[in-house]
């Protein structure tokens, strides 16, 4: 499916009808997670050229003229495109939070904007230097930047995160032993929208670990 076909799909009334039954933003995201075309969109924006195309589409839709007494006609599709980009390249659309006059009539896109802001805050706190670790009983584990969760797929390791206590950056990681879930679209989206809660008691300081 081409990016233009994806645009047609997400901007069609049938898609809007489906997603406009969500009773909460969590349900909105849940509907997206089950949507095969959204998975295709997320995969597509991994290519920078497609990510730029989607960003341009957001900006085009935001500029559409409409009666400000009513909802923005492309609220749903703008939110969908934002969520796809938040997962891959949130900095690409950071400008949507900072530059220009506010756009009225949005609802779902405002939740997406909040997700974007939260994601950017997390990124600010990350030590994004790539680290190489070795754990007992595990092999070939590399911790990449937060955006590269696809690559953090070594057996037994699911999530990598970092914090910045005080001035000294300190990478922290967490090993989950819950059936070794792969970083699927579902658990990556869950990560973006707040379901993941670091367990301080189980997290281990990188500096406390010794390679080998």
């Amino acid at each position: 499916m081409s990016i233009e076909q994806l645009f047609d799909y997400f901007e069609d009334i049938e898609f809007e009808f489906k997603i406009e039954h969500a009773s909460s933003f969590a349900e909105f995201v849940s509907i997206l997670q089950r949507d095969a075309e959204f998975g295709t969109l997320v995969s597509s924006v991994a290519e920078p050229v497609f990510a730029e195309t989607v960003k341009d589409r957001i900006e085009t839709l935001l500029k559409v003229e409409f009666d400000p007494h009513y909802a923005h006609p492309h609220d749903v599709s703008i939110a969908v495109y934002m969520l796809a980009l938040i997962g891959k390249d949130p900095k690409l659309i950071e400008i949507l939070l900072t530059d220009g006059p506010p756009v009225e009539g949005l609802f779902w896109a405002r939740f997406a904007a909040t997700s974007l802001q939260n994601k950017l805050k997390k990124l600010e706190n990350l030590a994004v230097d790539e680290k190489h670790l070795t754990f007992p009983n595990l092999s070939n584990i590399r911790i990449h930047s937060y955006l590269d969760l696809d690559k953090v797929a070594a057996d037994g390791v699911d999530i990598a995160l970092s914090s910045e206590p005080g001035r000294q950056k300190q990478l922290q990681f967490k090993i989950k032993n819950e059936g070794n879930p792969k970083p699927t679209l579902t658990n990556r989206l869950s990560e973006f929208y707040g379901e993941f809660k670091p367990d301080e008691n189980k997290s281990t300081s990188f500096t406390d670990r010794k390679a080998g």
Binding site: A22, S23, L97, V103
Partner: protein, 165 residues
Amino acid sequence: MIIPLNDVESFEFPLATKRGTPIPNLQKPEHSPEKARTLIDFHDRNFQHLQRRSISATYNCIGMVFASRRTFVDTKHVKVLLAEDGYRKIAEFEARRGDVIVYRNTVNNEVVHVGVLITEIPDEAEWLILSKWGPGGEYFHKKRQTYPLYLENVEFEYWTERIEL
């Protein structure tokens, strides 16, 4: 162009439980008349067997039941609304007109939908329910005649705040 922030903790309208706990809410902008007509046509094609009461977008099911159709309230606030508005859980056979049906997902124990019991359907031992489907239409329907999303791993609960002597 800036997209304003918002989240489920916004307090757009003064809304609180009977005990005074503030309930976050956010009014969704109304559909334009053109969009509303398109949605009505679409609803009619897909749910022609159901009677629609309204196509208003400003509130969801929680807003319909607990906020007089004024605003959109996240489903996660149903727990405190039930607890602090004097509701108690009852068996289906105890339910009466005006009581509330809660759709709960048994996998995550989260409320996904609520509606109001309107009347018992003669000869069917079933309730006719009025509920709002997200920002979509407000419908009269049987409990399993609703949007499929609400029916995944669902269990039905009946709640009332009736005071009877």
